[in-house]
């Protein structure tokens, strides 16, 4: 059957036959790099047009419909526009850090791609601490926002950065705790093992109510971590104009923009991996025929289907909810989400020890 792993293997074999091992690794690294960057660009384009179409659909309008069939090339045109725009640096800004910040955001987003399993046996780096790596590296993300806010020499940006710092640092806790729930169940941090443990059922179904709570907490926390509405206080445009990226224009703004969308993709991919079985098809107990049909759907389609479903969920939040206030936001985390996810983790641990899951 056609699959990504076969392609990857055949490339690897062909390279091994023609080059010595060092060159093989270097060429494979280059291929992987190019693949990640092109996936990046593609994701940016797809997610922007998706966001615009989803919002248009919710807001009873048509959305972009001029460039290309059904406006599908609109985000391409936007990218071109942003590319040729002048990148301004405000006077009084710390030029070095101001220009560095968007690249940090990008690099972090790229690093996060490494442990994600896009399809069966198709993963860049299956390191044994996969999910810990993701939550560790994603904590660098906040640095780029703080850097941008500080270096802009703008009070709105500084306030945005402060808000964002407080927000991301607090919501990392409950995101981490809800990830831990799955880790406790699986007994491993490795992405491939977590997916493998869901062969006979996804954790959201296998883990009873506590896993559902963990899933909901996870979605709320990552929405906050990626600065998406209703938690978009860092860029709240009606209060802080655009928060930390007020002063950014042209390509540097586009990098922030892109990094935001790629981060949304990554957290949704992690969510799909942890709770919805990654590339695992949907199986129902002993319905052999049904399960067989499900197996015929390629694993990459399962993965992207689940991921885009979660992305749609996060977009749905954005276009229906008003924004929270900063104190309400932190109240929600420290008074509700964190205690709930802590108690939930205890229950999950008890469940894992007693084997109370399917």
């Amino acid at each position: 059957m056609w699959s990504f792993s076969n392609i990857a293997n055949s490339i690897h074999e062909w390279l091994s036959n023609n080059f010595n091992p060092t060159w093989t690794i270097i060429i494979e690294m280059v291929i992987a790099g190019v693949a990640v960057i092109s996936l990046f660009a593609l994701l940016g384009l797809v997610l922007v047009i998706m966001e615009r179409k989803v919002s248009a659909w919710m807001q009873i309008r048509l959305g972009p419909n001029r460039v290309g069939p059904k406006g599908m090339f609109q985000s391409l045109a936007d990218t071109l526009k942003l590319l040729v725009k002048e990148g301004l640096t405000p006077g009084g800004a710390d030029k070095f850090l101001f220009n560095l910040a968007p690249f940090i955001a990008m690099i972090v987003a790229m690093l996060l791609m490494a442990p994600i399993a896009f399809a069966k046996d198709f993963q860049l780096w299956d390191l044994n601490i996969g999910v810990l790596f993701v939550s560790a590296v994603s904590s660098i993300m906040v640095i780029s926002i703080l850097m941008a806010g500080w270096a802009s020499n703008n009070k709105y940006s500084l306030m945005g950065a402060m808000r964002s710092g407080a927000q991301i640092v607090s919501y990392e806790l409950s995101a981490g705790l809800s990830i831990l729930a799955v880790v406790v169940m699986t007994g491993s941090l490795q992405v491939s093992e977590i997916i493998e443990s869901q062969r006979n059922g996804w954790w959201i179904f296998k883990g009873h109510l506590p896993m559902l709570i963990a899933f909901v907490t996870f979605i709320i926390a990552v929405t906050a971590e990626t600065n998406r509405a209703p938690f978009d206080l860092a860029e709240a445009e009606s209060e802080l104009t655009a928060g930390f990226h007020t002063e950014y224009s042209g390509m540097k703004f586009a990098l922030f923009f892109l990094a935001e969308y790629v981060n949304v993709f990554i957290v949704c991919a992690i969510g799909a991996t942890l709770f919805l079985g990654g590339w695992m098809p949907f199986h129902i107990g002993k319905w052999e025929g049904f399960n067989h049909v499900m197996d015929y759907i390629p694993s990459s389609i399962w993965f992207f289907g689940k991921t885009f479903f979660l992305i749609f969920l996060i977009m749905w939040f954005r276009w229906t909810f008003p924004r929270l206030r900063i104190d309400q936001l932190l109240n929600l985390e420290w008074k509700y989400l964190l205690p709930i996810s802590m108690i939930n983790l205890l229950i999950v641990t008890a469940m894992a020890i007693l084997g109370w899951h399917f």
Binding site: N128, L132, F133, S135, I140, I143, W150, A161, M162
Partner: protein, 186 residues
Amino acid sequence: MTGSDIIFYLLATLCVVFALLSVTTRHIFRAAIYLLFTLIGIAGIYFWLQYEFIAAVQIVVYVGGIVVLIIFSIFLTQQTGEQLPKQKLDRKIFAALVVFAGFALTMVQIYQHTFIETDEIAITPTVENIGKKMLAVDSGGYALPFEVISILLLAALIGCIVIALREKKNIEPQIQDDTEEHKGIV
């Protein structure tokens, strides 16, 4: 030189260069960012050693925690675009001497120390093994240090709360005074 060596020297240079930049720059925020790169470089060396777990913990604790804390304190006390005052020459010389002395002490220790090869087999650093080792009470277990550190952290937390509470009492009446004044104006 193999590829592996090249990567090590790259990472080592990164750490050293940014460490030097971090102490020589006169922009305080940049110093924090250079420190961040140094810490990331160290995490990179851990990855190179294939101690992924320690590398990830290094990033979580130092990058996600300590550096963010440092940056916050800079936000609250400093102003954008301001440079720190230039240090006097005698201070610089003194600092260089101290650094050199410390460096020499470390190097001498390393060269004098005879490292014994152990025949114990290193554990595979999976989460399960690390977790079991961390809570093990037999020889080679880390239960005691683990608990001691957790008590230290608890003390730190309580200290924070105490400081925060005391400060609040001092500030509150001041704010009320302000609002009273404003009432008078309006």
